[in-house]
């Protein structure tokens, strides 16, 4: 039953999305209001239908309906209910269904939240959404159908990949997809604007909320993935420059650039055709990411079911959509050039530099990711570019961006009094350098120059941003602090939070990268290992049986200055069905350090290989990301105008 209903619903949705697309050809024949209503109703219907098919698939998982091949391959009777649910998007077919569900929901939100946008733009946006949805639906129906049957029906399923049986991975893919797919909104906006040949700043400020929203989801999605890698993979790392990670990071960089160029376009009517190009670019990178992940064209540690045929389908679509929109850009972008001038001492110039660096960074990562492909097509041999390339390029290009951040915050539109700016920021920079110098020399006793540079810039950013907001509070003259905090313009709060977040993030990355201590030791019962100021005693190992796995749990007690601190219970799990072994590291976190204990192999006579890491300030990484997300949320929900401020 589920197969038939599922296929039927998806086919109907595909037909409806074709109808929605065809509206673009009826401009001359049908009135604008009927076209608008038609698109609005169709887009809502599509998202409702796809939601129903998604619920059907979830129902099949929850009721262990192994007559569906996809369910049989990715679930098992003994799987926890919550993982049965998250298994819906645990593999290729289901994740594409989730993708198209998110896409259709984004599309149906456009007319609902259209506010003052002119109807013809909204109609064009929806029509183009129609073709995007149609593509993904046909992709599902013809090559990745989660409703396919299997015969004979197996008695039990092959279980969900144990790597994916983790709380972090329940919400990581949906968040990432909402962000990824959200880039389609600025894309269809860009195409609609190019088709219509004119733009106005109100539309840009409308678009900005959409972009910030998908930026927030993308940020949450990527950081959850990192967080998961840190907790689950047992290597103590959180970013590996793997092609799949790069695939999600490139759209993030592009959308970050877009976020900044939108501000300039909105406030100063500048760089408008650059903004439009960035919108197309961001979505292209999302599609390219989907292609890289699904085609198996590059080898990645992320074990997805790869299939060149699926890759070909995505690639053909990608060339069509991106090719056509860039051709349209080539023909029409001239229409959008404004004659506004800007000076080298203005905020817009600094934001232009920001865009320049972010774009270069994006392309460097793209180049590194595609490098094996390029060299092999040109018969230069096959070369893979590893983490050293990415680390070097990325930090070399990021440091100038971070340096510019404070200047962007303090400068003004059109023209800035530079001597005042340099005096003020120069002093702050000087203080930051001194503080970091003292900290590194006397406390850390380290003289790594890159660390010095990164920390100084991070502190400089945090200082300058915090002072800006304090100054604003002071100038507002309100006696009630709470009231004056709430009276701050949300755009300012949002950018200050996000930039302080970046500073905090950099401190976390730098400290944990350069000053981690790692020990791989053989421990017997009751033996002790000291790492930094904490000694860790191995108490023993006990066995634990759970629903779908059996595990060995190590017991470790940590002492600091002979006082009991905490116990660690790292696990080694063996999953019953797929026989995979998973390491569950035990982590104790405080603001200043994480201690990370992972159980290795068992040796003879009760001794075990144990991996212990001491990672200073790695928590700041997550706090930094948290601040950035908070900043984004302010940008979405906060008020835009300067109200109630004296």
């Amino acid at each position: 039953m589920i197969t038939e209903v599922g296929n039927f619903i998806l086919s109907i949705s595909a037909t409806l999305s074709l109808c929605m697309f065809s509206v673009i050809f009826f401009k001359k024949y049908v009135g604008i209001n009927s076209r608008y209503t038609f698109c609005k109703i169709i887009s809502l219907t599509i998202s409702f239908l796809i939601l129903v098919s998604f619920i059907l698939l979830a129902y099949a998982f929850l009721t262990d309906d192994f007559s569906l091949r996809y369910v049989a391959n990715n679930s098992n009777i003994s799987l926890d209910t919550i993982y049965k649910f998250s298994a819906v998007w645990g593999a290729h077919e289901g994740s594409i269904l989730l993708w198209v569900l998110v896409l259709s929901v984004w599309a149906s939100c456009i007319p609902i939240l259209s506010s003052n946008m002119p109807k013809n733009i909204i109609i064009d946006m929806l029509s183009i959404m129609g073709i995007l949805i149609l593509f993904f639906l046909t992709f599902i129906l013809f090559s990745s159908n989660p409703f396919d049957r299997i015969f004979p029906i197996p008695l039990n399923g092959r279980d969900l990949n144990p790597l994916l049986q983790d709380p972090g991975l329940i919400i990581h893919p949906p968040m990432l997809y909402i962000g990824y797919v959200g880039t389609s909104v600025p894309f269809v906006f860009a195409v609609a604007v190019l088709l219509n040949g004119h733009i106005n700043t109100e539309w840009i400020s409308w678009l900005r909320k959409w972009v910030v929203t998908s930026w927030v989801f993308l940020t949450i999605g990527i950081s959850l993935g990192s967080w998961w890698a840190y907790h689950e993979l047992g290597w103590g790392g959180w970013w590996f420059w793997d092609p799949v990670e790069n695939a999600s990071f490139m759209p993030w960089l592009a959308i970050t650039a877009l976020l900044h160029s939108l501000i300039v376009s909105e406030k100063r009517e500048l760089f408008i055709n650059w903004t439009i190009l960035l919108a197309i670019l961001t979505f292209s990178l999302s599609l390219l990411g989907a292609f890289l992940v699904r085609s198996g064209i590059l080898v990645s540690v992320h074990a997805f079911a790869n299939d060149p045929e699926r890759g070909l389908y995505i690639l053909l679509f990608l060339s069509l959509v991106i090719g056509l929109s860039l051709a349209l850009y080539f023909l029409k972008s001239k229409l959008l050039i404004s004659n506004n001038q800007y000076s080298i001492t203005s905020k817009e110039f600094i934001l232009l530099l920001n865009n320049l660096f972010l774009t270069i960074t994006t392309f460097s990562i793209l180049l590194g990711t595609l490098y094996p492909l390029i060299t092999s097509s040109l018969d230069l041999g096959k070369i893979s570019v590893g983490a050293p390339y990415f680390n070097f390029i990325f930090s070399a290009l990021m440091l100038p961006i971070v340096f510019l951040m404070s200047f962007a915050i303090y400068s003004s539109w059109s023209k800035t009094n530079y001597s005042y700016l340099i005096k003020k920021l120069g002093l702050l920079l000087f203080y930051s350098v001194i503080i970091v110098y003292i900290y590194m020399n006397f406390y850390l006793q380290s003289d790594i120059f890159v660390v010095f540079l990164a920390l100084s810039l991070a502190i400089f950013t945090i200082f300058s941003s915090s002072i800006k907001i304090l100054q604003f509070l002071y100038n507002s003259g309100c006696s009630n602090i709470l009231k004056s905090i709430f009276s701050l313009p949300s755009s300012m709060v949002s950018n200050i939070f996000a930039h302080i977040g970046i500073g905090v993030l950099i401190i976390g990355i730098t400290m944990s990268n350069y000053y981690s201590i790692q020990k791989e030791v053989v421990m017997k019962k009751n033996s002790q290992v000291t790492i930094k100021d904490t000694s860790i005693k191995f108490i023993g190992v006990k066995n634990k049986i759970s629903n779908n796995y059996a595990s060995q749990v190590g017991i470790f007690d940590a002492y600091k200055n002979n006082n009991y601190l905490i116990s660690f219970f790292p696990e080694k799990r063996t999953y019953n069905i797929q026989k995979n072994i998973m390491t569950e590291a035990a982590i104790n976190s405080t603001l200043t350090r994480d201690i990370y204990v992972a159980l290795g192999e068992s040796l003879s006579n009760d001794s075990w290989v144990v991996r212990i890491y001491y990672k200073p300030y790695i928590q700041l990484l997550w706090y930094g990301v948290g601040l950035m997300i908070l900043g984004g949320l302010f940008g979405i929900f906060g008020r835009n105008k300067l109200e109630n401020i004296k």
Binding site: W235, F291, G323, F330, L373, S376, S377, K572, K579
Partner: protein, 172 residues
């Protein structure tokens, strides 16, 4: 009415597209290991049967094959008979790297199918395999007496591999 620079994005896109299409027709698993010509990564683990410590230095001194396998891996059971054959020729030593496996399952598997390995490194977490850049089992590394990686093969090995890759090295 056309802006000169606006031709740039689509040109760049077409170039990238060319590489993507040409990459699609190529097999990414043919990317050679960056380890070739370099010493094997350092590792320290236990042997599968005796649970004795084994490190990369223990393997030095003669040319050997390092075969990455697991009892769960289908390709490994395909190549296993052939690995037994090579071992019976006594021309080259074979070490095993037991990848993401359970000890008893691995021992069981070898007891059924025969054990061609001189010694087996037990790597249940796959962390040693990560250092070796293993994509998935089976994979086979040819390593010389100084511990330098000479060749890497992905997938089951066969007669052709023995003739083309191993024989020339042995006969040298």
């Amino acid at each position: 009415m056309i802006h000169k620079l606006s031709v740039l994005p689509i040109s760049i896109f077409l170039v990238i597209l060319y590489f993507l299409f040409s990459g699609l027709s190529k097999d990414p698993t043919l990317i050679p290991s960056p380890l070739i010509g370099k010493p094997v990564p350092e590792f320290s683990s236990t042997t599968l049967f005796e649970k004795k410590t084994i490190t990369n230095t223990d393997l030095l001194g003669e040319t050997y094959l390092l075969n990455v396998w697991g009892s769960w891996c289908y390709g490994c059971s395909i190549e296993h008979d052939f690995i037994m054959d090579i071992n019976s020729k006594k021309t080259i030593k074979i070490y095993g790297l037991n990848y993401k496996d359970k000890r008893f399952a691995a021992i069981n598997w070898l007891e059924k199918k025969g054990n061609p390995y001189k010694s087996i490194i037990f790597d249940d977490t796959g962390s040693i395999a990560i250092d070796f850049g293993v994509y998935g089992a089976p994979e086979t590394f040819l390593i010389n007496d100084e511990g330098i990686v000479i060749h890497k093969h992905i997938g089951p090995i066969d007669q052709a591999y023995y003739k083309k890759i191993i024989l020339p090295v042995i006969e040298k």
